[in-house]
């Protein structure tokens, strides 16, 4: 039952991404092409999502714990470091080149299109190698 509700949560996200245009690289790149063939649609995607989450989170956080877990696992860091700013900027370069972000590409896999699979494999390799590298580096510099 819990896994089914989690699946449905993913499905709602996947449908939202699909109808919003976030799974369509042409639409994504055109949003960022203000000097060219600008398509402002994606501003409404992010605006709508943030507004709903802002209101809905207030209800979720009113509880002492989530329904299927003993505690909330919300990120607690507040420091702004080079990794955060630089890593995000690097992500933006890749997003601009390809037109896919992770949340757009994962649902797009469901269309079975080869371009999406190619992007997804490349992205997954990037995530896995970077994650392993950072983990090794961080254990080296900060021994437990």
């Amino acid at each position: 039952m819990r896994l089914l509700l989690t699946y449905l949560t993913g499905l709602i996200f996947g449908i939202g991404i699909s109808i919003s245009g976030m799974a369509n690289p042409a639409k994504v790149i055109n949003f960022f092409d203000i000097a060219g063939i600008w398509d402002p649609s994606l501003a409404l995607v992010m605006g709508g999502a943030v507004l709903v989450a802002m209101v809905g989170y207030r209800f979720a956080f009113a509880r002492s714990a989530p329904m299927f877990d003993t505690m909330f696992h919300v990120p607690t860091r507040h420091d702004i470091d080079l990794r955060l700013v630089g890593g995000s900027a690097v992500f933006g370069v890749g997003w601009g080149i390809s037109g896919f972000c992770p949340g757009g590409a994962i649902p797009a896999l469901g269309t079975g299109r080869s371009e999406v699979v190619i992007f997804f494999v490349a992205m997954t390799v990037g995530i896995a190698l970077t994650r392993l590298y950072l983990r090794a580096k961080d254990t080296q510099t900060q021994p437990a």
Partner: protein, 147 residues
């Protein structure tokens, strides 16, 4: 280049569903709906027993276009205006960036901003700016094509 039409209602509706799913995941499992974190934790779990719910969530996400297809008889549009090489290079760069920056459009841009997290707001400004600059350079400066 492929021109696309302004789709205010579909995009707003899609955004509302994305926000709704983010709230549901917080309510059910107390987790931020960040595509990067969910996928990364599925590929390389931090601890055992963490994989099942991530797998269920990913399966749901991938089912999205199939649900659209079942309802309308058409898959959602995936129009790719760039080369295969750009997909590979862009994919690797995205993977490195979201891992170092600890999040992407969904995790930082939606969930983080909705929680008023200073880190996520800074990250969102950083990747949005970088994407605008990259698209400008690709479309209007290096018009001969690099990738």
């Amino acid at each position: 280049m492929i021109e696309t039409e302004f789709t205010p209602w579909m995009s707003l509706g899609g955004g509302v569903l994305i926000g709704l799913a983010s709230v549901m995941l917080m309510l059910f499992r107390g987790r931020v709906f960040g595509a990067t974190g969910i996928l990364a934790g599925f590929i390389i779990p931090a601890h055992s027993g963490d994989r099942a719910w991530r797998g269920a969530l990913l399966a749901g996400m991938i089912s999205g276009p199939l649900a659209i297809w079942a309802m309308t008889g058409q898959m959602p549009a995936v129009e790719v205006p760039v080369s295969t090489l750009a997909m590979i290079v862009g994919g690797i760069i995205v993977g490195v960036g979201v891992t170092v920056g600890a999040g992407c459009t969904s995790g930082h841009g939606v969930c983080g901003v909705a929680r008023f997290s200073p880190r996520s707001i800074v990250a969102t400004i950083s990747f949005m700016a970088a994407t605008f600059i990259t698209v400008y350079l690709v479309r209007h400066v290096f018009t001969g094509g690099v990738l």
